[in-house]
């Protein structure tokens, strides 16, 4: 085992940060959703790495990773439906133009 655990954690942290940046900087709703997905993938890398390096006999990490991407898929299905329903009326998915309500 030549690759240390910290490398995986750094990769996951970088991916999380990229996703975070994507959510905060992109204006297209689909791109924001992509950013969120990157954040969730960082989670899965973390889980797989912790499972492998801490206690491979215990399945909690793997099971958790499976749950995370199953739930993420359900969430995306709802999210895309919402985006499509907004697009049908307004012909746009750019977050700045979806601004009916402001204080």
């Amino acid at each position: 085992m030549s690759i240390p655990l910290s490398w995986y954690l750094i990769l996951a942290a970088a991916l999380f940060a990229i996703g975070l940046f994507g959510v905060l900087s992109r204006r297209n709703a689909i791109a924001i959703l992509l950013g969120v997905e990157l954040m969730l993938n960082a989670v899965n890398i973390n889980l797989a790495a912790f499972w492998r390096y801490l206690d491979p006999a215990q399945m909690a990490g793997q099971a958790f990773a499976v749950i995370v991407f199953a739930v993420a898929a359900a969430e995306v299905a709802v999210g895309l439906a919402l985006i499509i329903s907004v697009y049908r009326r307004r012909k746009t998915v750019v977050a700045d133009e979806i601004d009916l309500m402001k204080w």
């Binding site: 912790f50 909690a60 990490g61 958790f64 749950i67 969430e75």
Partner: protein, 481 residues
Amino acid sequence: MTQSDLITILPLLALVVWACALLLVDLFIPKGRKGWTALLAAAGLALTMGLTLAQAGREASGFGGMLRLDGFSTFLNVLFLGSGLLGVAVAYGYLKRMDLERGEFYSLLLFSITGMMLMAQAADLIVIFLALELLSIPLYVLAAFARPRADSEEAGLKYFLLGAFSTGFVVYGITLVFGATGTTSLAKIVEVLAAGSLGTGSLLLTIGAALILVGFSFKVAAVPFHMWTPDVYQGAPTPVTAFMSVGAKAAGFAALMRIFVMAFPSLSADLTPVLWALAALTMFIGNIIAISQTNIKRMLAYSSIAHAGYILMALVAYGNPAVAADSVASALFYLVAYAVTSFGAWSVVMSLEKPDAKGLEINDFAGLGRRNPLLAAAMTIFMLSFTGMPPTLGLVGKFFLFRTAIEGGFIGLAIIGVLTSLISAYYYLRVVVTMYMREGEPQAEGEYWLTFTTVVTALATVVLQFLPAALFALAAGAVLK
């Protein structure tokens, strides 16, 4: 599945099965007679409530300690089911009036309540994540339920994007905690922390706990993670807003209390200052921005942000073992006070709402005191309760919160709480003044179940204050051990 497992999840199981069956049954109920779906949904909630109450006082743990049945979960489950029942009561007439009568509304509501109940019973970080998603995903759909109304679609989309974003924080934080301690079970995390040999893991643990706090701050709408709240509360159909402001907030606090009080008391030195700042900012900013609102839904949204701050104030002292029990009990007490008051206020808003989001300006309440004295009196009670003035439950709730803060040694925070309550009197009483002192001809809806909800919540707000000791004893019995 052992008997203990079954006992632990019996109410949950009943509600899930009922919700799935309701989804099917609804297909055979013709359009225009969706009252039957509402009735069946209410029956399912009542049945679950019966099961929950029958188990009151019982303690069990199931599925290898992942789920628990204890006083805490029973107390919150009753709160969730009660708010679900009130939600069905106010939604029935509203959906009909706004031409939104679609049966899936009730199934989605039931699924969301299942998620909240799961959250109250969760004793494992994986289950907490699952419960968070189960309660949120139906709420995203419900917020957009008034489609093709543009503001509702927008509310749904905004809630979804911010909600998914905050879930990312929660679950990333959970993985770091898992990495640091090697387990996701809250009970085992406590054991590992007590053994105290984390080394570099303690950094991971602190970061993880902070990320979980950020994620749930989005859910309970604490400043600076509150930006979605006014837009979503304004755009979503009003029964959904009412349910969200009560149920989703209580579920968020349930998770925070479970995680922090049960698993992370040892991190309080790092987290208490953060919670202090969150609570102070939330109380301050929520109340200040509410002053400038002219739309009643937006005003109540900022008021709900401010109240999240008051409840957070009780949790600031969670690390001090002498006050930890009081801090949970007073937070639970205030959640009940807020639930009753908030549902009542939203039901009055619904009585005056007209199709296409008309009738929602505070000015539209002018003259209500003369046109409809009952409704105006109820609204006055709710506004007084929000402010924390007698003769209402809000006063007692705030008293317990401030007492906890002072016992914990956070006198500065309690003073901020009192000052911001004074500020809030300005915009709450403005509604009362508008109702009684200004001329207007508002047309209020006299729908039976809506009036019923208004009257019941108004009575509860007044009557429950006379037995604060009994209610507080209930909340104290629900404290985490």
